[in-house]
């Protein structure tokens, strides 16, 4: 059986505007999440260079660390940190969607799963911060 199909030459094919992501808040937030990976990628490249400089000796490392202390790099790292936090939070909410948790026959509410994840993340971050500060001390 041939299913009825419209005459393609008579159809109008709308084009998606390049500014589609400005049409809705959720689209904009999605694009921010995607953009965040660019900043995180640059941060990781800088970190790799920093580790490489460590292998080059204290003089080389100190010079690189001083360059990172410039206002431009500080602003970049502040933005990268904000993006990293935003990206992480979106993933914690995604986790609740991807891996539904059940308690008996009932599914645990997604917001609760996300809140538990974020809570655990904060605790681990504080432990790492404590270890870092004690090592520095």
């Amino acid at each position: 059986m041939i299913s009825p199909r419209p005459d393609k030459s008579m159809l109008y094919y709308p084009k998606m505007p390049a500014t589609w992501w400005l049409r809705k808040r959720s689209y904009f937030l999605f694009m921010l999440r995607e953009l965040s990976s660019v900043f995180i990628a640059i941060f990781l490249v800088v970190l790799l260079v920093q580790i490489y400089q460590l292998s080059e000796g204290p003089k080389s490392y100190t010079a690189f660390a001083q360059r990172l202390g410039s206002p431009g790099w500080i602003i970049f790292h502040a933005i990268a940190l904000l993006f990293a936090i935003y990206h992480s939070i979106t993933w914690f909410f995604s986790t609740a969607v991807v891996l539904p948790l059940r308690l008996g026959k009932r599914e645990i509410p997604r917001n609760l799963v996300a809140a538990l994840n974020i809570g655990a993340w904060i605790v681990v971050s504080l432990v790492i911060l404590y270890l870092f500060l004690s090592l520095k001390g």
């Binding site: 419209p6 159809l11 109008y12 709308p14 998606m16 049409r23 999605f30 995604s94 969607v97």
Partner: protein
């Protein structure tokens, strides 16, 4: 009625006559209990019989009357005039689809994709009728029940920017229905759906914008179905590599 009117700006496109869609304004009597579809039917019956759009059940079951209402994909039988009144209301055909005429879109691409995921129960061996039904526990039913609610209204396709940019993407509803049958304990056709669902144009093209779930009028949650399919297919792949003797 107090003589109040509501204004609808409706996209018109007459093939062979219009080069591009245009907007036409209509005034209809404002009634608090009217949904957008009632207003469209009023226009069709009393003002302009040439206006074309799809509708059928008028109760959120058939999935025919999906349109863009002020830029948001909605079932027009489920949105009231009073939600917008006295503002003007913009009615457009669902975006991301070719337009046949006025508010009628070409759904062939969706129907082809829906068919490609084999949304029906596949059995390797069929039981004889005399052997009785394929029984299922309430827990087994709950694993997929939510995804059975899909009415193929295509609002999720209109909300999905990935489908808008990459029309070869299998799309939210088709994947959700493939997932629904994969989760059904009576089904044995998971492997035969894998080639389509697990392809680049299948689940992997989804970047998890999540708007498909937001606009779904039946709370199907296609975004969850897609992400869970990613986990399932990845697990199956690891099993196939780590257990080369097919011990899944």
């Amino acid at each position: 009625m107090n003589g109040a009117t509501a204004t609808l700006n409706i996209t018109r496109y007459l093939p062979g006559q219009d080069q591009i869609p245009r907007s036409q304004s209509y005034s209809v009597p404002y009634q608090r209990d009217w949904v957008i579809l009632d207003a469209l039917n009023y226009i069709k019956d009393h003002i302009d019989g040439t206006l074309s759009y799809r509708w059928s059940c008028r109760m959120g079951v058939c999935g025919s009357c999906g349109m863009m209402v002020n830029g948001v994909p909605k079932l027009t039988c489920a949105v009231f005039l009073r939600d917008f009144y006295p503002q003007e209301i913009r009615i457009e055909p669902l975006v991301n689809f070719p337009i046949i005429r006025d508010l009628v879109i070409d759904m062939s691409d969706f129907l082809d994709k829906l068919k490609s995921v084999k949304p029906w129960i596949i059995r390797k061996t069929e039981k004889q009728i005399s052997e009785g039904e394929y029984l299922q526990t309430p827990e087994e039913l709950s694993a997929y029940q939510q995804f059975t609610q899909c009415i193929n209204c295509m609002l999720c396709y209109a909300a999905c920017p990935v489908y808008g940019m990459e029309p070869e993407f299998l799309g939210p509803a088709a994947i959700a229905l493939g997932y629904r049958y994969n989760q059904d304990s009576r089904d044995q056709g998971k492997e035969s759906r894998q080639a389509v669902l697990g392809s680049h144009e299948g689940i992997w093209q989804c970047t998890f914008v999540g708007e498909c779930t937001e606009v779904c009028p039946k709370e199907v949650d296609p975004a969850a179905a897609i992400q869970r399919s990613k986990v399932e297919i990845t697990k199956d792949w690891f099993k196939s590599v780590l257990l080369p003797w097919g011990q899944r």
